[in-house]
């Protein structure tokens, strides 16, 4: 039997490694972790995570740099080829910057008719230009686009109406706006770009502070790598010391890791097979929740101190199995609580836990040898005391009620590991540069692209009244580049024919020094514009304007969504009310409100699932255990969780999703402790072994998570603090509630 088990285990692990080497892919799309959106605003939030208009932008403050130094930096950065835009101030588009798609459609990108009056005004302007400019570029533009329609189209995309030619923060520090060629989600390419950025600016002797999603992502990855490595080494060391003190044998250190490692490998393989990509958060939360599996071998080691390991396993297996089954129920509940991310987490932990328990049961005993002869002990079976449970229940509830905080923190940004002062700084830079609001957008949706574009055009025209009312400063729409087919065709129909254009041109040329022959290309281009097909989304593919179009128009949930980006929204309530009066159902999306509601929904879903899980676990315990022991165990767990939550609330304030996950682990650990310490058939040496095991489990968990509690990363800090406090309270509660004489 043992041999068969070992073979199955070995083959299974090898298969996992083989499968992982081919199928494992990681994703960092936070959208996976959000629940099914229920409102239009939440839908936009989930659809647009990571694809916001400014996601590829890096803002760099160059404190103390003069204009020359800034210009040198710009040139050096532009030469790297890693950035599509490097700007120190609002761009003034030049002849070289006109994308082909804008040049060929220049007469169809605005409504003003090409008549004699317009041409006369344009040629008067060109005469004045002639006094100052000359050469190939000037002539080229004059010949092909005397009305400068192409440059006007590009200028309509600029939104910074200020006079300043350079962006500065309030304290006068120059700010550069840099757009990476690499997409925001490609962290490796972002890292290359950010490294090169830092190196170039460092070489230029500039004191540079870069900021932006890409920079944060890279810094975060580096910090997390460093922190995770250092903290896990420290935690492992702490764990090793605890285990050595508890068992005095080195092999134990390796054996203790076996079920956890096997479980993690199996869980990871299951997720990799069941989902297109494994989310980073799945791993982080998953390993935390799976941490309970480190306790399983410890129970075996403690009980195998006095007897043969196989016999010890047979004795503790019912309790171990019950604890694992209860935890499994809770983890499956998570899997069913909503988002794909939660499903991943559930699958990872459930499979991991199952495998860890099976490995402990069938593989481990063969490797464990008795460490000392059996000792006689006078320890009596546990007597369950309710005092501890009641005291903790009262204390925990009291803390929760009396704490001067909201119980839950709904701010999605608080889950972000980026320090708040960096986010505030980023916000300051963004204000200096005038990037679109990251909080508010207007969306228009329809299954029909043309309907969306027409509604956007109508809104674009009407928004001026909202601006005049002071609700916002400016806005950008996709239709400035991509008009609806109807509008495109209307403009096309309005273009004058050759004869009419020639007549208008001759009238306009009167009194100017320009020769009519210079405008042959212009007349020819207007003629060919009359047969151009309407612009489509694809028309902009590969051009410098592709990101603009992609940021303002996308397909989500089978609908086309037009995004109107907003600048300086002063009065969202008034804007929202005004939008309600507009046709085409435009909606003001407040990402902050939407994300708070989503986090609350997510937690609500998880808590509901856990409530159901609790009922199932109660039924399971009542089925397998005497009523008193079942009720005592479960209420001990509830008391521990309440007290831990209450203490956290008082000590650190409102709880977030990380605390919730950690509390879940605390509940699992607490249940195990309670179940083992309340074993009614334990007496003598066995009773002593159970207490030894629980003490070893508690100490090792408290040490390992105590190390994480010292981390500067909010997630690790929250997980560490919660589990360390919770473990100690669990230990105390179980110990106090199920007293027995200590071994001699």
């Amino acid at each position: 039997m043992t041999n068969v088990a070992r073979l199955v285990w070995l083959a299974g692990m090898l298969a996992c490694v083989a499968l992982l080497s081919t199928t494992l892919r990681f994703s960092y799309d936070l959208g996976l972790f959000l629940p099914e959106p229920t409102t239009a605003a939440q839908r936009v939030l989930v659809e647009r995570l990571g694809a916001a208009p400014g996601a590829r932008l890096i803002l760099v403050a160059l404190s103390g740099a003069d204009d020359d130094a800034v210009d040198e930096a710009i040139n050096a950065l532009a030469d790297t080829g890693l950035f599509t835009r490097v700007l120190a101030g609002p761009p003034s588009p030049g002849v070289d910057d006109i994308p082909d798609v804008v040049w060929s459609n220049r007469y169809l990108l605005r409504d003003a008719p090409l008549d004699a009056q317009m041409l006369a005004a344009a040629l008067a302007d060109r005469t004045a230009d002639l006094a100052l400019f000359a050469g190939g570029d000037f002539n080229r533009l004059l010949r092909g686009d005397p009305t400068m329609a192409s440059l006007a189209a590009l200028e309509r995309l600029a939104t910074n109406t200020g006079d300043a030619d350079r962006w500065r923060t309030d304290d006068g520090t120059p700010v550069l706006l840099i757009e990476t060629a690499a997409p925001a989600f490609d962290l490796a390419a972002q890292a290359t770009a950010v490294d090169e950025l830092r190196r170039t600016l460092d070489e230029a002797g500039l004191d540079a502070v870069p900021s932006g999603p890409g920079v944060f992502g890279v810094e975060l990855r580096d910090t997390i790598h460093a922190e995770a490595r250092n903290r896990s080494m420290l935690a492992s060391l702490g764990l090793a010391i605890v285990l050595f003190v508890a068992y005095r044998r080195w092999p134990v250190l390796v054996l203790a890791a076996l079920p956890l490692a096997s479980g993690a490998l199996a869980g990871l393989t299951a997720v990799a097979l069941a989902f297109p990509a494994v989310h980073g958060i799945t791993l982080a939360f998953g390993f935390t929740l799976l941490g309970i599996a480190i306790d399983y071998p410890l129970h075996l080691f403690s009980h195998a101190r006095s007897t043969d390991a196989t016999a010890a396993m047979q004795r503790i297996w019912p309790t171990l199995r019950l604890g694992a089954a209860s935890t499994l129920v809770a983890y499956i509940a998570i899997a069913l609580s909503g988002s794909q991310g939660a499903a991943q987490l559930g699958v990872f932990t459930a499979v991991g836990l199952l495998v860890a328990a099976l490995v402990t049961r069938w593989i481990l005993p063969a490797f464990v040898t008795a460490s000392r002869p059996a000792v006689s002990s006078s320890a009596r079976p546990a007597r369950l005391r309710w005092t501890a449970v009641i005291v903790l229940l009262v204390a925990g509830s009291g803390l929760l009620v009396l704490a001067p905080h909201e119980l839950w923190n709904n701010r999605l940004s608080d889950l972000s590991p980026v320090p708040p002062e960096r986010l505030a700084q980023d916000n300051r830079f963004r204000q200096a540069v005038g990037t679109p609001s990251l909080r508010h957008i207007i969306t228009l949706r329809d299954r029909d692209l043309q309907a969306v574009l027409q509604a956007t055009e109508a809104l674009d025209a009407e928004l001026a009244s909202a601006r005049d009312a002071g609700s916002l400063r400016n806005w950008q729409t996709v239709t400035r580049l991509l008009p609806s087919a109807a509008r495109f065709e209307a403009r096309r129909a309005r273009l004058p024919d050759d004869t009419a254009l020639r007549v208008a041109l001759r009238t306009a040329l009167d009194g100017t020094p320009f020769a009519e022959r210079a405008f042959d290309e212009f007349v020819g281009d207007v003629a060919s514009s009359r047969s151009l097909p309407p612009l489509t989304v694809e028309s902009f593919g590969g051009s410098a304007l592709e990101p603009y179009v992609a940021a303002h128009l996308y397909q989500g949930s089978g609908e086309w969504v037009s995004v109107v980006s907003l600048f300086d929204v002063a009065d969202p309530a008034a804007l929202s009310a005004w939008l309600a009066t507009q046709p085409g159902r435009p909606a003001l999306v407040d990402f902050q409100a939407a994300s708070q509601a989503l986090v609350a929904d997510y937690r609500g879903d998880t808590l509901r699932s856990l409530a159901i899980a609790l009922a199932i676990i109660l039924a399971l315990l009542l089925w397998r255990l005497p009523v008193a022991r079942a009720l005592w165990s479960l209420s001990t767990v509830v008391a521990v969780v309440l007290t831990t939550a209450g203490l956290l609330l008082v000590l650190i304030g409102a709880l977030n999703l990380y605390h919730l996950m950690a509390l879940l682990l605390v509940a699992g650990l607490g249940l195990d402790y309670a179940l083992f310490l309340s074993r009614s058939d334990d007496e003598g040496a066995h009773r002593a072994d159970s207490r030894h095991a629980v003490l070893a489990c508690g100490a090792s968990t408290a040490v390992a998570f105590g190390v994480l509690a010292g981390s500067s990363i909010p997630a690790l800090n929250a997980l560490g603090t919660t589990v360390a406090i919770g473990t100690l309270i669990s230990l105390a509660a179980a110990w106090w509630g199920a007293p027995g004489n200590l071994p001699d």
């Binding site: 070289d96 910057d97 400019f133 050469g135 002539n139």
Partner: protein, 210 residues
Amino acid sequence: MSRSINAVTAALVAWLACAHAVAAPPGLEEKLQSLRAGVLEEVAFREERHSDVLTKPAVFEGRLTYDAEANVMSKLVEAPVPVSMTVDERYVTVTRDDKTRRLKLSKRPELRALLAGFRGLLTGDTDALEENFHLEFGDLDFGELDPSGSDATWRLTMTPRSRRLKKHVDALLVDGNEQRVTAICTQMTNGDWQHMTFVAPPDTGQSPSD
């Protein structure tokens, strides 16, 4: 495209650093030093523009000003349309009918070339000139046959060094008499050319129409 412009700007900056290695043609140094002594803060000009986009040469009149302290040049066109252009180290500011447009100098290489030439002439800075242009300096002796009717006695021919400048400008011909520049002819690569003549203020005692 803008990347290549920036590359040129970077190259110009690099040249600034190693300009000392270049020796000026004989005689130029002294000429420029004497020109410098005669630098005027303001000079009236008349400019003819020749281009095949025009029916006949366009003529503009106005003043050029130079603030040596701030290194700011202005071209104030008074006729036929009032329009002005001020060039500082980085920007070209164009003002017409109280409306101001600002262009980055790096986007107007032909202006950059002109500017470098003017500045070098005005400040007598041979190095600055040599950085941007090949220089050829010689006496002019038109005798009775002087086609422009000017009293120029020397000519400095400036041909751009950088590929980017060469794309727009073939050469600048600077004509002068003693320590005074009398005319600058700019020959563009597309065949256009501009001829700008300067009228010295009366108190110098000299005038090209003498």
